[in-house]
Symmetry: C2
Subunit: 530 residues, 2 copies
């Protein structure tokens, strides 16, 4: 039996490192094979983000070396801008630290948890500190060896030094962790292959325990830089709005609304103030109190502003914060990787969930070298290999009426069909910290399904064309087989030269074949279309 | 394009409150109906934990009152020990703060996230602070109204006062949040009903928007108090071991191992030291260096100790840290709640995963008032209502070969069958912070399946008995129908009195019926048994 006083003495703070050390399965460290994938993924995702942000064509090196039973050294190196000396320990030695959480811009990392958790897992399983070597191109190379003080969630620098030499830029991080190396569908190998598809501007070298593989870039320039955007009022909740009003430098509510939010004009701002009850009387009329100081808005008024936002039609957030792959890139990637008979891709227009813009892209590849059904999922260009069952992509595929597109729904899993889905957003709603599956918001499911349908329609047309042409060529060859005999009979009846008649019959077959092919396939289009 | 310096300036710490505010779906705040359930659940779970720990028979009050469109006031009150004044703001106003994370003992809460997240969600959606009223029985009632400073993850006390009066003890917390009230299978109502089943020693009053319901306690005393245990070496990973060695007050490795770990004797400790290479030479022999100072053990030696643990057979951790419900309570709970025709329950022996002891209990109820198939899941007496698909319990049910137990596997969902599974452990491996599903560790799945099989076997025996008895009673009634006529004929042939013959025939039928029932059913047992 305990008293309130005894219980009080037991209360204490839990550091975020302790929390995730104990709950490391939430971050994807459920088993030793997956742990290796997680470490490589965090390293490579950060490298690609840094290169893209600095406008550098990425050259990534991943090395995996066995050090003992279930013990591996994992190295990730890039030619990115490097990390300034002061930030190295914090980025690697502190959970919930980073540059991507607070900004609205598409990037692979978004939580400030990834790479520090790789450090945490390494020290937890092998006791080995992580080493980081970096230079920003000033001729100075900084080397750190560090661990995390779990109780404090702070870096412990074990060793550090600086060397002067030839200028270079980039980061190399080296982890020693308890892992298992596999080459299956959810492995480092698969992750790197798929990363090469979704980041065709990157050169990737993978030194695996079974040999070296190079993925050469297929595109010589970086995609357009996604821009950072301001929050959009549609997605701002009361808590955030109050915080923003408390810390803004804007002196009036009108300037606060029009300068700190994305695409909010003076007219809409006035409408929101009026509907939100931020008003004053002027010549007997109630008008928006545009000059109200943000700091003086009460909680109740803030709540009414949020209510008002739902009633006012606002301009959608801008979409240059997103960097989709584009249909051409998806199609060429699928062709290069899978050698299919048919390929189609679609990039949907931007949509918004919880105020955050997102885009969905889908590619479909069919037949050819494809042996079996597969769904490839990507979020902000990062392949997702686990938790397929709980992902919005899987649900969308399952809920699509494939029968309408000449594909047997019951036998979907037996079709030689690969579905490629890319979701990009300034904030991907992952179902867990391990970032393996996308949450099933209605609008997201809807967009994925529409994109799937658009591609499936193209596949359906092609499939019926293929079946028609198989039927026609059978009919044609029957005609051709009897052309000589028919010409002979006709030449006897009409007295015309047999060769002339035969030539004409063949011409007719060719015309007819062409006509049937064009005409009927067009008709089929309308039948299967929506 | 950004340089390393520009990127460095953007790096900053993310507070755990900010993280979970943005990722609140991870904590279960995905939608407004679920949000209400989460708030009630966090409050009630804490109340039950506190009452149990203080040895008080719980009286819990839950009130839900509509305040406006999608806006509710949620009140949870208990007769527990109360919270000391200084701890109130920290417990409610700080994420990752609590008494349950660092200790090894079965409790409903374990993360130090729950109730503070309810405060966070309330302020995020309605801007309203949470009020807490508490007294520890000293005649002083402390009242707090507080919010969370999200950027700092610290409480902001808006108002506080103390009143003197009649002594009482307990806590009342009141949230105002954006919610939706529903009464379906995943609602507050269902949660409270199931909580009453798994906590039959609690009185619960629920003032719902549709009326007041009282759940009276069915048991007049608390279950045995689960004891706090020390960590067991089987589950200790390198990171934790090193931290423990750095902070221990033990002067030698031998005393460290034997005093700070659960059930580790001198002999096993010596064996571990020897195998782990903590040795010294004595008279030409290598012996364990029992007097080595824990602080002087190197990382490499620590790693070898962890390796050695895998090779040494240790005594299992004690299990009085667990508080199972027991078969009697499960069965009576199922009967009271469901009025079935058949009920059976099993409590398995304790097992260990990642060094943490756990127990599985299963109950099965069949027929009677049960209309359809249902699986009720509990973890440390808390009903789990969401994420059924990803839970170890669901997987175990699906992987059980029901056909062997006279239940059509394909039609499981159509059977009038309720399965009750209770998992209790000092640390429940939930799949997410929202604590809705149990991770599928192999040993956990195995234990659940064994318990299911044990119950299913009993059901199978009963089912075949039921079918047999239906057949027998049909046969018996046929005999009975013709008993008079047969007696008549026999009396003519033998000259015996008709009444005597008829009485004897009926006796024979009764004997026969009894015999068939007993004997064949026993045989059935062995056929369906494992």
């Amino acid at each position: 039996m305990s008293t309130a006083e005894e219980m009080g003495r037991q209360q204490r703070a839990i550091s975020v490192s302790e929390f995730f050390e104990k709950n490391r399965h939430l971050l994807g460290y459920d088993n030793k094979a997956k742990a290796m994938l997680m470490i490589v993924k965090e390293g490579v995702d950060n490298s690609l983000d840094a290169c893209e942000e600095a406008g550098i064509l990425p050259e990534i090196y991943v090395g995996i070396k066995e050090m003992g039973p279930e013990k591996y050294q994992i190295t990730v190196r890039d030619n990115g801008p490097g990390i300034v000396k002061e930030q190295i320990p914090k980025i690697f030695g502190r959970l919930l630290y980073g540059s991507k959480f607070h900004r609205l811009r598409q990037s692979r990392g978004q939580q400030g948890l990834g790479v520090s958790c790789a450090v945490l897992y390494s020290q937890l399983t092998t006791g080995t500190p992580t080493t980081i070597v970096s230079s920003t191109g000033d001729g100075k190379t900084h080397r750190y060896s560090l661990k995390i003080d779990v109780a404090k969630n702070r870096p412990i620098v074990m060793e550090t030094n600086v060397e002067e030499g030839e200028p270079w830029h980039g980061v190399e991080s080296r982890f020693v962790a308890e892992c298992v190396y596999r080459e299956n569908k959810q492995s480092v190998m698969e992750y790197i292959k798929q990363t090469a598809v979704s980041n065709p501007f990157a050169d990737i070298v993978f030194d695996s325990p079974s040999g070296r593989i190079e993925f050469k870039r297929g595109v010589g320039r970086l995609p357009a830089q996604p821009r950072e955007i301001m929050p959009h009022l549609y997605g701002v909740e009361l808590g955030l709005l109050t915080r923003m009003m408390a810390s803004t430098e804007a002196r009036t509510m009108l300037s606060f609304l029009t300068t700190e939010f994305s695409r909010l004009g003076k007219q809409s701002a006035n409408e929101i103030l009026l509907k939100g009850g931020i008003t004053r009387e002027e010549a007997g009329k109630t008008v928006p109190h545009t000059k109200m100081k943000p700091r003086r808005v009460t909680d109740e008024q803030a709540r009414r502003i949020i209510e008002a936002v739902k009633q006012v039609k606002l301009v959608r957030p801008p979409t240059d914060c997103l960097s989709p792959l584009g249909t051409q890139l998806i199609e060429s990637g699928l062709v290069k990787e899978l050698n299919p008979e048919f390929v189609a891709a679609v990039t949907r227009s931007p949509e918004v969930y919880r105020g955050w813009p997102f885009r969905v892209e889908v590619g479909i590849a069919f037949g050819g070298s494809i042996q079996s059904f597969n769904v490839m999922r990507f979020a902000n260009r990062v392949p997702l290999l686990y938790q397929q069952g709980t992902c919005a992509v899987t649900r969308s595929v399952q809920e699509t009426d494939w029968k309408r597109y000449n594909i047997q729904a019951g036998k979907l899993a037996e079709e030689p069909l690969v579905i490629f889905v890319h979701f990009c957003s300034v904030w991907v709603p992952f179902t867990s910290e391990s970032k393996e599956a996308i949450s099933g918001y209605d609008i997201i499911i809807k967009e994925i399904k529409l994109a799937l349908q658009e591609c499936a329609r193209k596949l359906s047309i092609w499939l019926s064309g293929k079946r028609k042409s198989a039927m026609i060529s059978k009919r044609k060859s029957t005609f051709e087989r009897y052309a000589g005999e028919t010409a002979n009979a006709l030449s006897i009846i009409t007295g015309a030269a047999k060769e002339d008649v035969e030539r004409k019959i063949i011409e007719v077959i060719k015309d007819k074949w062409g006509e049937i092919n064009g005409g009927e396939v067009e008709g089929e289009d309308q039948e299967t279309g929506e």
